[in-house]
């Protein structure tokens, strides 16, 4: 199953569950409070997911390591390499 199909499958499951409760499709005669909670649920879920995404990406951008030390080490090694290669007879 491709990822696309997995997603479609999961979304339709949620959609069916939502439809069952909100419109009482199978005539379960749910209490009215169920319907009140259920009908705006897709919007809530989207908002929650959006917030989670923004928070996650924001946090990861803020904590992205800046490898200053690695860059300094590399610069030092480049000098060392150039001198050593010159000694070994490399002509650039």
């Amino acid at each position: 199953m491709t990822k696309l199909l997995e997603w479609l499958f999961a979304v339709s499951l949620v959609g069916v569950a939502w439809g069952l409760v909100t419109f009482d499709l199978l005539d379960f005669q749910f209490p009215a409070v169920y319907r009140e909670v259920a009908w705006p649920m897709p919007v809530y879920l989207l908002v929650v997911f959006g917030c989670y995404s923004l928070a996650t990406v924001g946090y990861r951008v803020a904590t992205f390591n800046d490898c200053e030390e690695a860059a300094r080490e590399l610069q030092g090694q480049i000098q060392e390499a150039k001198e050593d290669l010159k000694k070994k007879g490399l002509k650039i």
Binding site: V61, F64, N65, D66, C67, A70, G89, L90
Partner: protein
């Protein structure tokens, strides 16, 4: 003394590591990356060869590579040039064909990938018997140098979307610093059709699809010291296209 002990340990080791270095106009960087590879392989004592695949660079990268071959020996530096720029996927196929190692390491020749991580890749591989080891900028001590906020935001954002859509089981999908078992790389390269950033992503996604095991080692990515790297609108659009293609087909 630590390296003396290391050498003894590794001499019993029959594993050989072939480093594939596809180059195009890297005359400045090639001697430096080779020097660093020789240094770290020498210190850790693993058996290795460096395969330089130059795609007809007009700047004389190949002549530099020939000099390096004289300095370090034909068994360590192997030259497999091609007449013109033919793309990364075929460069790997070309390199694998000539590789004598049972493991293949792929990395960029522009010094953004530091050879000091290779011994860690190898240890990690041995520890878990992994089919491939991927360097990751997004985990543990991994990170980047030389990226502004915009670049970081795009990178993290693209990575997040990809993780949500594909759940690939690896944290760095677009990185290209990796160690593969030779047969694993062969079977993956055959199957992968994408270009650019998406190529590396497809390799990981297909690896997971085929049931290969993936290990990760945090790396620091130091953006190109010489030359410049670009991330423009075109790259972003082709990345998204590739992502959606993988989403629909894997």
């Amino acid at each position: 003394m630590a390296s003396g002990k290391g050498n003894k340990k590794k001499q019993e080791d029959s594993d050989k590591y072939s480093v594939l270095l596809p180059t195009y106009n890297e005359r400045e960087n090639l001697p430096l990356i080779v020097w660093l590879l020789v240094k770290y392989f020498g210190e850790s004592g693993y058996n290795y060869e460096i395969i330089v695949i130059d795609d007809g660079s007009p700047d004389g990268t190949l002549q530099i590579a020939e000099q390096l071959q004289k300095i370090y020996g034909h068994d360590k530096i192997v030259l497999r040039p091609r007449p013109k720029k033919l793309g990364l996927g075929t460069a790997y196929i070309h390199g694998i064909k000539h590789a004598t190692g049972n493991f293949i390491i792929i990395m960029d020749a522009d010094l953004s990938h530091h050879p000091k991580f290779i011994p860690q890749f190898i240890e990690k591989q041995k520890e878990g018997g992994y089919d491939l080891i991927s360097g990751t900028r997004y985990r543990g001590d991994g990170g980047v140098y030389g990226w502004d906020l915009r670049r970081k935001l795009i990178s993290r954002g693209a990575n997040f979307i990809t993780q949500v859509l594909l759940r690939p089981g690896a944290s760095d999908l677009t990185g290209s610093f990796r160690l593969y078992k030779k047969n694993v790389l062969e079977s993956l390269v055959e199957r992968c059709v994408s270009k650019g950033y998406v190529f590396q992503m497809e390799m990981i996604v297909r690896a997971r699809q085929l049931g290969y095991t993936i290990g990760e080692v945090p790396i620091s990515f130091v953006d190109r010291v010489y030359g410049e790297s670009k991330l423009g609108g075109n790259e972003i659009v082709s990345f998204l296209k590739g992502l959606l293609t993988l989403f629909a087909t894997t």
